[in-house]
Symmetry: C2
Subunit: 119 residues, 2 copies
């Protein structure tokens, strides 16, 4: 009988339904492992110092760049390089695994960033 | 027409079949994003300074700890804490997404570690 459980992404995703509100599901070398549900367009932003890891779990996500768009489906990942402006857009809802250094503001700006809760 | 493609895990996994030979498929803030196919038991080892991220893409993986076992299926992830001895075991083959700081030896020991190639 194991007392140590893995993080089951589908199970964690069943615990919430609001969008653009990342939930921390684990940590890795001072990075937060987060799940987020997204729908519609987020704001254009960039993270000057850190790459931004996106992996789609369910649904479809467009990561708009200023001169291109990266489209991700389930089982696809993309890392937006540090400093590159981007805008995630999902229609309809998509579920995403995010990895960011702990404390990274989701909007790129601490004054507008959401607080990330742990589940 | 998009010129920027995401990393499709299934597509990358179709490019190789050997086991215990991680392929680098991307990078993220000085971490390597890697895919590896595993079968049977690896050696017991630990990484003194770094957590070890495992996410199962296909198959089933047991991560044996000295006093417990964590069993992961597709869509499940687990981070082995820094310094914790562990032994990955898969029967039959499983495909895993790994994330480790660049340069981390896969065995915990630079003298026995494999070279990671990029695909």
């Amino acid at each position: 009988m194991s007392n140590v459980k893995p993080v089951n992404l589908a199970e964690k995703l069943s615990l919430f339904s609001d969008t653009w509100a990342p939930r921390i599901v684990g940590s890795f070398n001072d990075n937060d492992l987060m799940l987020v549900k997204v729908e519609g367009a987020f704001d254009w932003h960039s993270h000057p110092e850190t790459g931004d890891f996106f992996m789609v779990v369910t649904g479809k996500l467009d990561i708009e760049l200023r001169d291109d768009t990266v489209t991700l489906g389930p089982g696809e990942l993309y890392v937006v390089p540090a400093g590159v402006e981007h805008r995630p857009v999902a229609r309809p809802v998509a579920a995403i695994l995010l990895i960011e250094p702990s404390g990274t503001p989701n909007t790129g700006d601490p004054t507008t960033a959401v607080t990330k809760t742990r589940i």
